[in-house]
Symmetry: C2
Subunit: 173 residues, 2 copies
DNA sequence: GTCTATAATTTGATAGAC
DNA sequence: GTCTATCAAATTATAGAC
């Protein structure tokens, strides 16, 4: 069950590329080459690019949700630690942006279904933070935490300096 | 001097489109149509798309610098107020992202010169904040302020809710 | 400095054999 | 389910007339 299934491997390749360059930075042919098939085979699994990206964002959102757990059952510190760790990993392991942060930035160039799936991701993160942080305002609002994490990845990647991420999120974690 | 010069009008059109969809979300033909010329005329003013975007980012950076003024000569409150106002305006007036925040997110799909110009923008903003905030840590680090502003635009635009921007940046301004 | 015309390439997508 | 072959459209970019 490790990682078989062409469909999942196509999504893996798309995820890697989309988190680095965005919606228009990769093609069916490139994904096909990554996986070792032809572009028509990619189209067999995903009829359109919109469908592929929608599935990708939904998988990304589901994985994040599983990894975070139930915000209401965690201490504020643990909840923030888990969320920050996910963003830090994207940066440190592979110099990636958050998939949904990047796509949301490109919003006006996205098909409607992708845009909607991205918005759902943000709603999920904000609900998690609201449940975890409760009424304490010492750590900042859920909106501030999420915004800082997204922006910290952008600036740290552009300046090729991971310590920028740490200085940006220090007050929240 | 209001806004004549085809060159400037091309940059205006590119700026509007790039701040909404990113580097690959517009073409020479679209810019030409916006301005009322043909795409070959756009190429007369900017030989390549890389050159056009580089000029665009440099103009964006220079305008922002002029509008901010010298950070060292401003109170921390006034410095933060000015910077926040620029980001808020992009969101409220026209539902735009920060040009450099969007391009930086797409980093791996950018030509090298554009990537470098975007990094210069972030260095400029961070230097401004360092000069303005000095050693006071009460408002957060320069990195945290910049990251929060960039991320706040992303999330607020995706969820079509300007109040998210205000809740995200409230602690800094 | 702008135009027409076009080259060269890439893209998302489809038809049909196997 | 993957392949070969191909299409129609769009893209960046150039040549040359005016």
């Amino acid at each position: 069950m490790a990682n078989d299934g062409i469909r999942e491997r196509i999504l893996d390749a798309a995820e890697r590329r989309a988190q680095r360059g965005g919606y228009n930075a990769f093609s069916f042919r490139e994904l096909a080459a990554d996986v070792g098939v032809k572009s028509s085979s990619v189209h067999y699994h995903f009829a359109t690019k919109e469908a592929l990206l929608q599935a990708l964002v939904e998988r990304y959102c589901a994985r994040t949700r599983e990894r975070l757990g139930e915000g209401a059952m965690l201490s504020p510190d643990e909840a923030l630690r888990r969320l920050t760790a996910i963003f830090r990993e994207a940066l440190v392991d592979d110099n990636r942006m958050c998939l949904c942060g990047l796509l949301a930035a490109e919003r006006d160039g996205l098909p409607p279904n992708v845009d909607a799936a991205v918005a759902d991701y943000f709603r999920m993160i904000l609900a998690y933070l609201r449940a975890a942080l409760g009424d304490e305002e010492g750590r900042g609002t859920p909106e501030a935490v999420l915004a800082t994490l997204e922006g910290a990845l952008i600036v740290a990647r552009s300046l090729c300096d991971h310590s920028i991420f740490e200085r940006a999120v220090a007050q929240h974690c």
